[in-house]
Symmetry: none
Subunit: 192 residues, 4 copies
DNA sequence: TATGAATGAGGTTTCATTCAT
DNA sequence: AATGAATGAAACCTCATTCAT
């Protein structure tokens, strides 16, 4: 009987439903059914439908940011850091295709129209990549003429697109392969 | 007074409106007003609201595909081809921020849920990149161990993300700069 | 090229279309297509959509009234008159199932809501039956205690229902059989 | 304050509104207002507007069928049965002119266009009449040469038309009078 | 007379949100 | 905290009608 974390269950249900139908084609009642709660209960935990998506985004970004920080904690070599970052990203995505779809597609779509949604977590994520590159430039591991913000964004775009391709085509095994190849690819583009 | 191509005007209006509010937050009547036609007129040219978005996609992809083909027609050097391809993409995007937003965000979002939408034009676009890479591999200009499909997708992801960044931040006249830099970046990743 | 009676063609087309889809589910453009004219042309001959139905009714009733008058002209025996009346009704209906459906169903449905539609022709039709009965009562051929208005209405209801049954079930051959039987049936109810 | 059977209230409201304006000229919002519920509430109980009409038909036919069965339960004489059947029909109609109009006019009009509407209850109703006649033929009370299906349909057409006449003219308290007369009329047509 | 592209009012229906229980 | 029946605003789309040609 005791439903320990109802908020969590609603968020998970939302990810499933949003991934399947897209945010705008999903009905709050579908999320409620998937979560095993009444429609009204949703509104005890979230301000409105949009808020569910925002919280999915915030929670998920927090989780992946923490995960990246843990993964990178003991590394010093910039090339190795970037390799691990990319691998961690792909691993996170691999754990939940649904979440990957929601983050890459739905949030991107909707964020522009959600006034006051704090997109900082996304900026932080880009910032992590940029910092790795900057470190590499400073340490001499990477070319000195790379634009770290731009490269970070390009790298993110590439791995995000590959995640999405994987998410939509279900070609699951290929993901780790893609991870290795794309990493190698970028390394050559960066290394001094 | 009769505006010649009403279909064209509606499509242009739709791009503007969809870019501003997102497809699902846009009302057909807004598109009509922007196009300077009555609501019902829309339905003389399009099956329904979704169909407008689909036609935007089809028309725009056809235009950019044609443009790329023209641009690449007389080139033989794979590296040069890729350089031109990327430049052409950025130039196309630069001409209409709104169109860029609709193509990268709205179409991506919605295409999954539009049964029967032919995504082939997108496949063709990826195919163009892949073919350039394949040619480069054959000619020895590019490494032999690159996966052309994967690289194509990664490259597309990167330039698409950069387009989007530019589109959303409005600021950067930096697009052409980004173009050069990202091209150089990929070149190093590919060249033998 | 010369389309002699466009009004006639539109009315015929309307009967076909209304019988198939019902008045309210029929579109003016369908009638136009069926008649081989442009949508706008309809409005050169009819005030509006409802007017088409009204004219179908008026024209058809005039035709059947005239037909009945001709058929009954030389008859004197009330029983014979009634027999011929019923036969003429069934024959008229048999010539156009579509018209039968429109007259029995659509006009009945709609007449209540068409202000100012003159339902007199229908009253005249009932009146013809009633007069035959009255004559029969006077001549002693029919019972003296029959209520001619009531009986007329009952008889009309019966033959109308049978027409409709025939129209909907297409059981074409059965119509003349039904005609004979129902006539015999009513005769027994009336004859002194 | 909670009205017990909202479905019932909506059906009753629908009968009133449909009788007044006709099905196709009635707006769902009118039915809602008449029922004292919000527009959306209608759709908690009915699939769509058409479904309301279908349910009116199904419910009403079930009611009148049950009523006829009760009324006829203890009777054995075929002539008496028919007499009671017709009386029961007229009584049912007399209780609600609006319902009579909807059943005779609107349902008839629309049923053809409502795919999947089960018209069996109407067939059952006709079947009840036919069975009474068949019984009468077997028992020798009625002529042996009557066609029971045909006669049933004729009888139904007659009483339906008279109901409608009464419903539309509002005036006649004459309904029970009509009942007696038409019964007598048919008896003579049937009796051996 | 004839056309048919354009109009725009308005209805059906959906669904996020509320609130009495 | 939880429910889910009820709400009602709002949008897509249809289609009768008009009018410039």
């Amino acid at each position: 009987m005791a439903q320990p974390d109802k908020r969590r269950r609603i968020l998970d249900a939302a990810v499933t439903v949003f991934a399947q139908n897209g945010f705008y084609n999903s009905k709050v009642s579908q999320v409620a059914r998937e979560a095993g709660v009444a429609d009204g209960t949703i509104y005890l935990y979230f301000k409105n439908k949009e808020d569910i998506l925002i919280q999915v985004f915030i929670d998920s970004m927090a989780a992946i940011l923490a995960r990246q920080e843990t993964a990178l904690a003991n590394l010093t070599d910039p090339a190795e850091k970037l390799r691990v970052f990319i691998a961690t990203h792909f691993n996170s995505v691999a754990e939940s295709r649904a979440l990957a779809e929601v983050l890459t597609v739905e949030v991107r779509q909707s964020s522009k129209f959600m006034r006051g949604t704090d997109m900082k977590p996304f900026g932080q994520y880009l910032g992590m990549i940029a910092r790795i590159i900057d470190d590499g430039v400073v340490s001499g591991a990477f070319r000195s003429n790379v634009d770290s913000r731009l490269s970070a964004r390009a790298i993110f775009g590439a791995i995000d697109e590959l995640s999405l391709a994987w998410a939509m085509e279900r070609g699951s095994a290929a993901l780790s392969d893609a991870c290795e190849r794309v990493t190698a690819f970028f390394m050559t583009g960066l290394e001094a």
